[in-house]
């Protein structure tokens, strides 16, 4: 059993030594070719990342595109089938649309709600209140909890006789409904995931936005007060524009992260009829059914979706994101 650990330690030391040697070699080679000292040092310092980019990003990126055009079950060599995987998913895989719908709905509801909620909370915390640090700590707690623990906790709270239904009992009583078992109910699984996701991401967004709010220079508000601006007007004409780059950042990070939701679903046995997250579906295709080629094709669709969403946010940004200095003078 000790061998398990020593083997990895050997691998680890060998690779580490390899990276350092390559950095030194890079420096020597570049100098030999007449590159100036500063540039040679710069290049050799970024060697770990360049190697990483080639081995962990670019290589697998291209390989996965090739695999997406094949049928591949790991055991036999991949067979080239052209775009059949893509054609199959769009025409012959009912699960695919269910998964797309589930993933997109989750992000489209979760991200804006999370950002707006966090903005309101950060605004409240930015007033002259006592114990700001303590409040901030409390709000940030869920972001520190391991996702695995969060997922198990919410699975438990969303049980048929769990805590959420206990709180909802009066309302359910009025509506004359039985307490639902959230995750195993096909129509309630998505809302349950959204509520759980909000709880988890909310605090982190609040802390980021709060730091943004603290960075807005006070004299802007003082000047506006002298001009006779009211509270609401100051909020929409100073706070929001000055905070917009931070909002933009939170939105981008939120979209990219929420589209890639993965871990939660492995701790929660939710209704299969509801669909699941795209990343989970890709995992199932690749590592449970060994449809590696098909899974790679799904991965590419995922990439396109992420790029489209990111592009959407970027393209819309000139309309609402204000960068100080850009319009000055």
């Amino acid at each position: 059993m000790l061998g398990w650990y020593t083997r990895t330690v050997y691998d680890y030391l060998a690779v580490g030594a390899g990276v350092i040697v390559l950095m030194l070699v890079m420096h020597k080679v570049l100098r030999r070719f007449g590159v100036n000292r500063e540039a040679a040092t710069g290049y050799s310092l970024i060697v770990p990342w360049i190697l990483g980019f080639l081995i962990w990003n670019l290589g697998p990126f291209m390989a996965s595109f090739y695999l997406s055009l094949t049928e591949y079950n790991v055991l036999q060599a991949p067979t080239f089938i052209g775009f059949d995987n893509y054609i199959e998913m769009f025409t012959d895989d009912p699960n695919f649309w269910r998964v797309i719908r589930f993933t997109l709905l989750y992000s489209v509801i979760n991200v804006p709600l999370g950002v707006v909620g966090a903005l309101l909370t950060a605004t409240l915390l930015n007033q002259d209140i006592r114990g700001m640090g303590t409040w901030r700590t409390i709000y940030y707690l869920p972001a520190v909890l391991p996702v695995a623990a969060t997922a198990l906790l919410w699975r438990w709270m969303f049980e048929g006789n769990g805590l959420i239904n206990f709180f909802l009992k009066p309302i359910l009583g009025l509506m004359d409904r039985d307490p639902p078992s959230w995750f195993t109910d096909a129509s309630l699984a998505l809302p349950a995931y959204i509520i759980m996701g909000l709880w988890g991401v909310f605090g982190a967004n609040t802390v980021i936005l709060l730091a943004g709010l603290k960075g807005i220079p006070r004299d802007l508000y003082d000047a506006a007060t002298i001009d006779g601006a009211g509270r609401v007007s100051k909020y929409f004409n100073i706070t929001i524009p000055m905070l917009s780059p931070t909002l933009f950042y939170v939105l981008i990070i939120g979209v990219i992260a929420s589209l890639q939701t993965f871990t939660q679903a492995f701790f929660i046995d939710h209704s299969r009829r509801a669909g699941t997250f795209m990343n989970v579906y890709i995992y199932q295709q690749a590592f449970e059914r060994f449809h590696m080629g098909y899974a790679a094709a799904l991965g590419w669709v995922m990439l396109v979706i992420i790029l489209l969403f990111t592009l959407l946010v970027f393209k819309s940004s000139p309309a609402w994101v204000y960068y100080e200095g850009e319009r000055a003078a």
Binding site: F61, P146, L153, M157, L163, K214, F262, M302, I306
Partner: protein, 300 residues
Amino acid sequence: MATVEQIRPDTRAVPTIARPRGTHEAVLLAITYVLIAIGAAAVLVPFLWMVSTSLKGEDRLFIYPPEWIPNPIRWVNYREAWQALPFDRFLLNTMFMTVLAMLAEIFTASMVAYGFARFRFPWRNTLFILLLSTMMLPGILTLIPKFVMWRELDRIDTFTPMTVGAWFAWGPSYIFLLRQFFLGVPREIEEAAILDGANTFQIYWQIMLPLVKPALLAIGVLSFQGNWNNFEGPLIYLNTLEKYPMVLGLQFFGESLSREAPKYHYMMAMSTLMAAPILALFFFAQRYFIEGLTVGAVKG
């Protein structure tokens, strides 16, 4: 020694001057407190529920109305859950992978960040944008070829895939964060060292790293958190139960041992234990968590 405040003085708020408040203001303030308290309760109640459940007997899980303070308090849940699976070993595995990955990650990320921050070379900005754009690449896309690669190298069911990659400065956000800090260090400090005859590695190791200590601690906590919670890697590469980290043990609990009647008291006990080191770290080093979180967003 320079601190965060000296390097980035611009995020400090100007202290407010106390103003006399009218009744209108007082009402608004009261509403603010109430709203903040409601939000805080929504955050804390699930936490308390987790801890409370972890101390309950199986027969008292589903009683109505819910019991907040368990009677009797069963500390023994923790021992029983710990012994139900080889959690000693899970803990060892988690620490083993976390420490190896963290060290390599911080070492290489800080070198790369220093290179991007301080040395002029052709294509520098293009390369940096390339680095940032890898953040958008979905992990799942490159996962399959990586799995094939580790399989070819005969490293499936070993800890190697989770640790060795850290030598290649993975985590573009760490590089970004450190670079921001290096940019804030005045150049005169290095110039003085160069005049004293120090070489690049000495400057990096003895002068620059100590100056950006807050940033190192910030990515230290981020990296600890990331590796401690890493689920995807072990899920895909590990097959033997005894090689599992804590997270996979927890998942095994939720999945296999709870098919018939979910043992939520055990699950909550193990969740609490798994969260404990990170929560402790958070309480002692909160500043660095927040530093790591906000540096990219504000003035990004």
